[in-house]
Amino acid sequence: MPLIELEGVAKDFVVHRSAGLLRRDRITVQAVRDLTFSVERGTILGYIGPNGAGKSTTVKMLTGILVPTAGRVSVGGLVPWDERIALARRIGVMFGQRVQLWWDLPLVDSLELLRHMYRVPADRYRHTLASLREALELDPFIRTPVRQLSLGQRIRGELAAAMLHDPEILFLDEPTIGLDVVAKQRVREFLIRANRERGVTVMLTTHDLADIERLCSRILIIDHGRLIYDGDVNALKERYGTERVLVVDLEEPQGPLEVEGGRVIKVEGPRQWIAFERARTNAAQLAAAVATRANLRDLTVEEPEIDDVVRRIYLETRP
């Protein structure tokens, strides 16, 4: 039986917008529409989509903080919003942009308090804490009040807090947002270890394509509240992510270049954007071709952004 199941889930929000001095219009916003998917135990699931696509709304429904307008949800056999406290003991939740630790207390005090909230036995706590301290390198700042931590340190602290009670499922809403490269890598390695060694199922939302490539065995993409892709990362990249863009700066502005294997998608003064398929040509060949037609001053290659991939899928799947 799948660990997480959603069937026909929808969530509407009613927002009020002022229309004149005293009138307010009620507008219904469909945050999520007809969402159906299931997740097996042991998966690292990437849940992606542009801002406002409905990612956080879904995570909130799965953790019991939001009640769907329609549909059925089951997490570990529980209905999240009806059995929020029973579910809370089995899941770890981290909202990257929210502070869940006690702001004025040293990190270790927050962890101690959570230990008592989740009734983690003392010996297991010692053991788990030791491994978290090592994996997340908490020692340099574990006695520092949370309000004095850097973002990267705080996120690592929040992750430790989410893992302290050995949850079966981790819900991570943008766990690497605002982190530098080193900190991102540390968080990713930690998640991979937790998944391999403890069998933790992870569902994470992110904007970071590298998170998805390094972590996720499966990804779901939503846009405008609808599921538009469900599959693994390689298939996605093969299907949608093969087009890269060569950006060339020429000595002088000129009309769109005609080069074999590439097509100019944008011209801005002396700068031109040339899209090409990785399967048909490569950046070096293309640059050489450009050099025969114009004086080249500089060039860069742009990898597809996840938002671009999403936009392309969305355009293709739109009825």
């Binding site: 969530k11 009613v14 945050a31 019991g64 929210r98 006690w102 005090d109 308090l113 008592h116 009040p145």
Partner: protein, 268 residues
């Protein structure tokens, strides 16, 4: 409710204490201000006793004792407005509290009891000691009266927490909780007997005040201390406070549940 949950309450209270103990400079500044205002209030009220010996059953030393106890209770019961909970609701951080296996109000009450103990010792006792050195205060003679006073202050803290929680929970419905906080603080200041004793009020206003939970936060513990409530009256006073503590906590819990429902159904 087993030993586990009491242990959690204890751990939370300890951290509530430690959180405020981390700012000794703020404590010193606060003690200074509370002491200065204690002298001002004491001299203003003493001026009334130049004309007469008693006002509504208070003599000069009972009145001065009343003033210094009031100064000691300012931070202990957090008279001037509290917004820790409202800020978490407004910022959305409350979502993080809802995914814990413990009721957020229970956790916050336990934390607040630790805070109150710190404030009672470090913000309450120093001005009271200064007052006791400079003026002749009325002190309870019987250890039982001291005990009753300590219990009464404990209940006052819980009553005050219940009321503070209620005006904080308003943040679920408004984007600006400070209006409610301000009104709440004004009501406490006026009707608790903090500014002048409830007994100094005109009869109708005193009756009105006694129909509210506010005297349970300031006036009733002071009544026990200065001996206005004696014998069986002490038990009656504690019972009134206990009833208000329960009533306000129940109201806060129901309101919080409504607020959470609004949040989870309509989205925050």
């Amino acid at each position: 409710m087993g030993l586990d949950t009491l242990r959690l309450d204890w751990e939370l209270a300890r951290r509530g204490y430690a959180r405020y103990a981390a700012y000794p400079a703020a404590t010193i500044a606060g003690v200074f201000v509370n002491t200065v205002f204690g002298f001002m209030r004491a001299f203003i009220l003493l001026a009334l006793f130049e004309q007469r010996d008693h006002i509504a059953g208070y003599d000069a030393s009972a009145t001065v004792t009343y003033v210094w106890l009031g100064q000691a209770l300012i931070m202990t019961i957090y008279i001037f407005g509290w917004q820790d909970l409202a800020l978490r609701i407004r910022s959305g951080d409350i979502a993080g509290d809802l995914i814990r296996p413990v009721h957020p109000l229970r956790a916050s009450l336990a934390f607040d009891l630790g805070r109150a103990l710190y404030h009672a010792i470090y913000r309450g006792l120093p001005p009271l000691l200064v007052g006791a050195l400079v003026f002749r205060l009325v002190l309870p003679a019987d250890p039982l009266e001291w005990l009753a006073f300590v219990i009464s202050v404990g209940l006052a803290i819980v009553v005050s927490y219940g009321f503070r929680a209620i005006y904080n929970i308003v943040a679920f419905w408004t984007t600006d909780h400070r209006g409610a906080m301000f009104l709440g603080a004004v009501a406490v200041n006026l009707f608790s007997g903090f500014i002048v004793p409830v007994a100094f009020f005109p009869d109708w206003l005193a009756a009105l005040a006694h129909a509210t939970p506010f005297p349970s936060m300031v006036q009733l513990p002071i009544d026990i201390f200065i001996g206005r409530a004696t014998g069986g009256e002490v038990l009656g006073t504690l019972a009134v406070q206990l009833v208000w503590a329960v009533v306000l906590l129940v109201i806060a819990e129901r309101l919080f549940a409504f607020g959470v429902r609004r949040l989870v159904v309509q989205g925050g």
